[in-house]
Every structure is written in C-alpha cells, then in structure tokens.
Chain length 425, copies 2
Amino acid sequence: MQRLSTSDADFAERFAAIVDDRRESDAGVSDKVAQILADVRQRGDAAVRELTETYDRHRLDWRIPASECEAAFAALAPEARDALTLAADRIRSYHAAQLPEDRDYRDEAGVRLGARWSAVDAAGLYVPGGNAAYPSSLLMNAIPAKVAGVERLVVATPTPDGVVNPLVLAAAHLCGVDEVWRIGGAQAVAALAYGTETIARVDVITGPGNAWVAEAKRQLYGVVGIDMVAGPSEILVIADGQSNPAWIAADLLSQAEHDPSSQSILITDDAAFANTVEAEVEALLGQLATGERARLSWQDYGVVIVASDLLAEAPALANRLAAEHVEISTDDPEPIFAALRHAGSVFLGRHTPEAIGDYVAGPNHVLPTGRRARFASGLSVLDFMKRTSFISLTEAALGAIGPAAVTLADIEGLPAHGTSVKVRL
Amino acid sequence: MQRLSTSDADFAERFAAIVDDRRESDAGVSDKVAQILADVRQRGDAAVRELTETYDRHRLDWRIPASECEAAFAALAPEARDALTLAADRIRSYHAAQLPEDRDYRDEAGVRLGARWSAVDAAGLYVPGGNAAYPSSLLMNAIPAKVAGVERLVVATPTPDGVVNPLVLAAAHLCGVDEVWRIGGAQAVAALAYGTETIARVDVITGPGNAWVAEAKRQLYGVVGIDMVAGPSEILVIADGQSNPAWIAADLLSQAEHDPSSQSILITDDAAFANTVEAEVEALLGQLATGERARLSWQDYGVVIVASDLLAEAPALANRLAAEHVEISTDDPEPIFAALRHAGSVFLGRHTPEAIGDYVAGPNHVLPTGRRARFASGLSVLDFMKRTSFISLTEAALGAIGPAAVTLADIEGLPAHGTSVKVRL
C-alpha cells in the first residue's frame, strides 16, 4: 500500500505513475491462443474434444441437459434461491428500462428517416469454472441478453475433471439459458465464434475468463461482437472523515479479495481517518477467508491519498483514474458526483456499499476496468442489439437533396454514385 | 459475376459459399504494425518523424493550422461549399436526435438508480490520404463526435510528399475539428492512442484506412475505443421487374466502383429483368472513369440471384448476407423491410439510391461490413460517449435488499463483500 498526500512535492509524479500502472498482462498466450482458434476453426469438434481432454481431463458429453440445471435450482437452499431470484428480478427490471426506442420520422425536406433496433440471433456467455464461477456473473450477462430479445442464449463453462458447479447450473435455469456446454478456455470461445458440427455459432460473446479466454475474445473481435476487454477489478472510495472506518475498510477489501492484481484506492481529506482505515484494513485482513489474496492486492496496489479538500481535488483525481467502481461516502455526495466524468458505476452515500451493486441493485456489474471508463460503458442490452438505419425518399424529396449528392460524388471522383442519383432526377 | 437461381439444385451450397466468402485480408502486416505501435509508444515523436519521412517523404511541421483549413473552405466552388454545408446540416440533425437520455429514478424498494451519459474527452479521426480521401467521410465521423459533445476532436491524415487534400481541410473547417495533423499509417494511429510529446492522446479513434491503419486500430482496441473493423463495401439490391434496369445497374456499380473487393448483389424475381440489368451494367462500366475498378469487383464478387418469390425468399437471403447496404426497389417495400433482421442501412423504394445515404440523407455512412450487421451497428453519437450507472441506498433500502446480497456473497465465497453490507445493516 502506498500513501500519498496531494500536498507532497512529488504527488503529481507519483499519482501519474499510479494512473499509468497496467495491472494486466496477456501472459504470453497470444500465439498459443491463435493456434487454438485456427485449430477449432479447421477441425471443429475434434479439436475441441482433444483440448477438453487435455485441459479439463474428461470425455463427457458436452451438453448439460436442461433437466440438470432445473434440478440444481430446485436443490438450492431456499435462502439462496430467494436471493438469486430477487437479484434476477431487479437486474431484469433495470435492464428492461434500457431498451432503446426505434425512430421513424419525416423531416422538413420530406425525407423519411429512422433507425430500428433488433437483437442478435444468438449470444454466447463464457462462465469460468472452479473458484471463479460466480452465479451473479451469469445473471449479469444472461439477463441483458434475454431482455434484449436474444432467441438463443448459450453458456460455455469448463468442468475440470467433469465436476460441475451447481450454482452456475441453477443460475442458468433461472435465466432461461437455452444451451449449456461443458467446454472452456480458448477452445470454447472459438467453438462459439466459428461453430462446430455440434455447437452452432453465435453472434456475440460476453463473460469473464482467464488470460486465454480474454485473449481469444480479443482476437475474435470483429468475427463476433464481444464485451469490453476486462482487467482486474478496481474500487475508488472517496470518503470524508465522518465515514465509519470499518465500513470503508470492508469496501476497500471487497475489491481486493477478488484477485492479487485488483486495486483499491481511498481518497479522504482527513489524515487521522486514513490512519484508522488502514488499521481497520489490517484487522479485517486477519479475519477473512480470502485474506491472503486481499493482502497481496492491498500491499501491491492499495493506495491512500490524503487531499486538502475533497470537493476541490477528488473529482479531478477520480477522472484521471476512471475507475470501475467509485464510492462517495459523504452526507451529500451530489457535488462530487456532478463533477465526475469518467467512472464505470458510482455508489452514492454512506449506505451504498459497492457489493450491493455486484448482486442485487440492478445495474450491471460488468464494468470497464483499467482506466477504460474514459471511453467504455458497462454491459447493457445494447451489447446484444444492433441498429439498422433506414431512408426513404419520394421523387420530390430526391429532387430537393439529390443535386447536392451529385455534386459531392463529383468532387470525390465517384461517377457511379453520381449517376445513380442523376438518372432518377 | 455469378448468377444463381433459388430453384437451382446447388443453390443452397453456392449461396452458403457467397455468405462465407471473406473479401478481407490483413495483408500480413500484423507483425510490422505491432512493431510500429511499440516503437511509437516508446520513442514518441522521434518514431513518428522517422516513419513519416520514410512513408510520406516529407519533414514538414505536422500541425496544419486552422487558418489553412479555413482558407481551403473559402476557396471551394460555391456549389461544393453549399453541398458540403447541406450534408453537414442534415447529418448533424439526424445525429442530434440520437443523443441518449439520462435516467434517474427510485424504484419500489426505495433504491435510487440511474445512468448518466457523457462524451469522451478527446476523439481522433483517421482520414486517408490520396485517392481515398473523402470529405464526406470526415463529415460522417466528425459530426457525431461533435454532437456527442467531444471537446477535443483531432484529425490525422497523411500528406504523401507533403501534398494536402484541400477538400479534407475544408471539411475539417466545416466540422469544427480542433487539430489537424499531417501524419498517417499505423504510426498516426499509435500517436493518437498513446500520445507523443507533440500530440496529446485521445480516447476513441474512428475512421477508415488501409490495411495498416485497420490492423493498428484492431491491435489498439481496449487501449482506446475504436469503431468497428471495416471491410470492403457491399450493396444488396432487392428489385422487382418493374424497376428501371439502368437505375439498378448504377446502384450496383456505385459500390463496385469503391474497390475491386467490393461486392454488389442483386436479388430479383424476374429473370428477364436480371438480363437487362446485366446488360446495363456492362454498358455503364464502359462509360465510368472508375470502370476498371468497378469491373474487377463486378467480375469477381458480383452476384445476381433470381428468386421465385421476392417476399417469400429475399428477406431470409438478405438476413444471411447481413449486408452493409440493402436497397428495396418495389412499390411497397414495407413487407420485405419488416422481415429484414440484419442490415447496416436500408434504402426504401424506387427513389432512394444508396448514394443518397453516402452524402446527404443524414444517417451515418460508416456501417458494418463483412456480415457484421448480424451484431454491429453504424457509427453514431454513442461511439463517442459512455454511460456511468449509479446507485444510492438509504438505510431502509439497504435493509430491504442488503440481506440477499449477503447471502449471495456467502455462496460465492467472497466474505469482504458480505461484510461490507453486514456492517451497515
């Protein structure tokens, strides 16, 4: 953990280093992933079968039947079933309100113009196996796709040694996933993108994964649609000295416990409060089952910044960081929120811990990381839809705007363009 | 040109081959582009200077002053100035109506939820030099960025041997572009993405370019936002036998004249009409200054399909092709349009040639190619904006939905997540 003060002589330099620090690596898998993609594209099922035997050590049928997912849901403890259902309902409701409106109008020149949105035909969701298999992540990917109107929703998830994660199957049932396949890694992403004899190809692939999965998606960008390249999780907490230090410590560690390369940053205007939070972090680290992972993250990437004035300084720093999650723990978070330009999701006020957004608030928890909130947004129904624009001219409307098109075709040296308008005038 | 009939015994097979045919190649520049990106990232201006001397053969100052753009606009023929201005006004008006609305509401559980859209800080537009420098393309990229609210809009355009294209400068002036730099190729894209001593980095890069530029953008996806990977242009014309064959021939060639790897496809239900269109294409090819390019495209990639029933067959074929441009030349295009699911932009009725959309209709002419309309949309203001979701809970609202979050954190094995909620309950 490093501690800075905005009044330090070297603050600008140290802060810039934090902003520029990349906690991502492609782990050198780029060439190997390219080979797997080419292999699956060419040999289909045979390639996927061999890679699954090698990496996941099983020769089971890939398809997990819907009945197994239904049974997994029925077998959940009632409390878990209710919590997942509440989360699904709230996520569905938030995303339904995101559905874009079509446009169809006639302008002053008599030209009919518009745009029509439609869902992609098929979407594939990658769900990691083992430790990182989170049912909440399946909900956050599957529900926007279903709300968008995707007819065929496919999950690919590895089952190392054939062992399934019943929570993932239960969540797939709850979300109405149409197909679940027990395959993983770059080979699963390739099978979804190119299709094989057994698995029909999809149009969009989303969902988290390890370095192989992330690199496979990156390489397939353009062959299919993908969600944003995702890096380690981040939280920036902007807290005044009246905040409860134990609450803030838990918030910081709720990101740190994801991964040793996660990042938690506190900006406060109260140096004594910063000290107390640091002590609370230490205390909580000792109690957490995830303490080892969280300690590495806090040690290597944790940052505490003491500012002289929160409202004057925190928004500018936050905009440079463009963090995935920003918490504002003050009595009136609005002035700081109004000055924030770049953030994935913002958590306003003392009773809004970030974790509430991971599970049950409703907005998506798939958010831009690694300073990408400068230009990227969280996952939404739009990631599973596309827009078709349309134009309709009467003879009179063509007469009004056609001559200008002929002039422009002419200066651009495209005579067939010009001719196609001229012959109709 | 190949001709098919939906009643041919081998139609399904031949049509599938057309759908799968990829007219794109990275021209083997992937490794060289990676080297250029790394070089510019490390050495900044020095690398850009050397590459510009090598490829563009000039050592001029990179910055083209605003006064030069203004002068280029003033020097336009009045007809060209009026046509560009009409186009800009119509494009601006269509895109202004695309601006997304923010959301801010409180739901039944008392939870305040919302989403706030904002523009990226800076956008870079690549504008090709030489033959492929189209002022209309600058308009189609710059205007959505300005409408979105981008404060700093930067153009990079190569000037081989130092020669500028005055039409590009004039269009830059008309659109209010803030900086114009005479650099090109992968080195220009790298300079925009990483920044150099002279050029500040941007957040989003859009615009067409050669294989080097396209590959540079692909490799920088995630470092910055980019528009969709673009391939050769395409048009699908669905026309009944009452259409004017000379009009349809001009429409087909208006895409063919872009590039030898462009693709023009006609679907009609009238074999005699198809013959006449083919003859008109031949006649027009002989007259066009771009005839050589257009002939190669028509020869290698042109397709004429005779269907037995347009309404019954054309939409399904069109959805497989997912073409960039789809023209429907019938008296009542609505039934076919209603059945179209995948298309970049649709041109309805006999008086709506595709070229009208390239210039003055208003919708964007940057559209998904290579079957990508299955999952991608044309350029819009959204490509220059991002959405920040937000959540605000009162103590009571946290009491209502917090326990479910604790349950889910528990089953996912993330105790700090659970703690951050529990301590507040």
